[in-house]
């Protein structure tokens, strides 16, 4: 068995994809966006409650897609919940680096540990878009998704 495959589809990822955290609609969402990958038809909707300072007071997602896109969305909600706008920004930047196999500039140790489960993606450039879909959707929700 290909090692890079084992690393990509490691247990944490599969667990996230089978049992996604923060899954479902957030009726009270202040921000919301739908992401779509036209190549595979995968979809994800990200719901946010941002407080006055832009802190992620609550977050949920809903979606249909491959293990990578679902796991990535689930992982993202874990990471972003409770974070300030600046922290979230930093996390997103770090994540985008990690999945491409680049070294993120500055990232809190624990976030990095969490994200490291996704570093196997760098061997699968064609799947990077699956992993970043949720994050780009989150960003869209913040910037253009005010309800």
């Amino acid at each position: 068995m290909d090692n890079s495959l084992r690393e990509l589809y490691q247990e944490v990822i599969l667990d996230h994809s089978r049992h996604p955290r923060h899954y479902g609609v957030l009726e009270a969402a202040t921000h919301k966006a739908e992401g779509y990958n036209p190549l595979c038809g995968d979809r994800v909707t990200v719901y946010l409650v941002l407080d006055g300072q832009g802190r992620v007071a609550d977050i949920r997602f809903e979606g249909k897609g491959c293990a990578i896109s679902q796991a990535s969305a689930s992982l993202m909600t874990d990471l972003l919940a409770g974070k300030t706008a600046a922290e979230a920004e930093q996390l997103m930047e770090g994540f985008l680096h990690i999945v491409k196999g680049e070294t993120p500039s500055a990232l809190p140790e624990d976030a990095r540990d969490h994200m490291d489960v996704m570093s196997g993606l760098s061997a699968f450039p064609m799947r990077v878009k699956c992993a970043t879909l949720a994050w780009h959707t989150y960003k869209n929700a913040v910037e253009e998704g005010a309800q």
């Binding site: 290909d2 890079s4 589809y9 595979c40 038809g41 995968d42 491959c66 293990a67």
Partner: protein, 414 residues
Amino acid sequence: MSAAAKIIPAFDAQAARRDFAILAKPVYGKPLAYLDSGASAQKPAIVLETMKAFAETEYANVHRGVHYLSGAATDRYEAARRTVQKFLGAAAEDEIVFTKGGTEAINLVAYSYLMPLIQLGDEIVLSVMEHHSNIVPWHFLRERQGAVLRWVDVQEDGSLDIAALDAAITPKTKLVAITHMSNVLGTLTPLAEIVKRAHAKGVPVLADGAQGAVHEIVDVQALDIDFYAITGHKLYGPTGIGALFAKRAHLKTMRPFNGGGEMIREVTRERITYADPPARFEAGTPPIIESVGLAVALDYLSGFDRAAVKAHEHDLLSYAREGVRQLNWVRVIGDAPGKGAILSFEAEGMHAHDLATILDREGVAVRAGHHCAQVLMERFGVTSTSRASFALYNTRADVDAMLSGLHKAREILV
């Protein structure tokens, strides 16, 4: 042993494989099982070598020059047109228009034939299994001119509902646009019957032959079809070229599509007159080297006993279908009687992209996604499928690799 299987020895796939250097090149250290010829076929050495040799010895722009190379290149280009004519069974070479591919061939009909005819409320009949290339051009006419798209459903097994098609043709129908062979289901449509019914109501028929021409012998005269579109790169030929067959009577009345050199008769500041077909529809420098490649590819394909090739591909299809049928966690989509060599399926608990990624590392190249057929995906309630498509160079070993890859994927993902 089936009747089909008995014919197989007439075609030697192992020998044919040697014409395709890429098939011998391992992927991630594994033998390549290329099961994505439905997206694009690999090209035999003779095609690549002839294109190169042509460019090294006889290349120049066509039609415009009186010098030797220009004449030689023009001869090759026009000979390629005759090769396509013969391949499709057209009555005359001037019924063949070279395009950049299958998509452009269909757009040519949309822009040059139908656009000037369409009035608000006019209808275009098409099936739910069309490729986007045979959907979007008609959607343009809906968006821009108020045409109405009339969708014909397929049955659960993926076969075309011919009665529904017949019923969909009304006095407002201006065209039936239908695939010859579905790139997802493998379904072959009864073109002759469709043409008969449409013509009985005075409606012309366009067939998207991007897949059909690869696997079936086409005779546009016998079909009496109005338009038939093909694309080079699926026919073991180069990218950048395709062709449209259109009946001469249609071509004569069609207005130009792209404007530029070659397609005019006379240009002044005030007015313009156009060249006769097919030149009228071939603006600018055409895909000259690619036309030579396409001709060689068609000759290559026609050089085999096509029935034997079909039997071989059908053997692979049956073998693969049998293989996945034994996995009760795989659902095949498309099981129409007599279908062509394409197998689409869903595997329980596995998204097509994850499956394809795992197969890839096993050297198995399949397509995963909506296959440019989102209307069909919707019809079957899926967002994507995995698809294995078979070409003359595939063997049962390729299928075996896929089946064993399926097991590995299940181990990993489920």
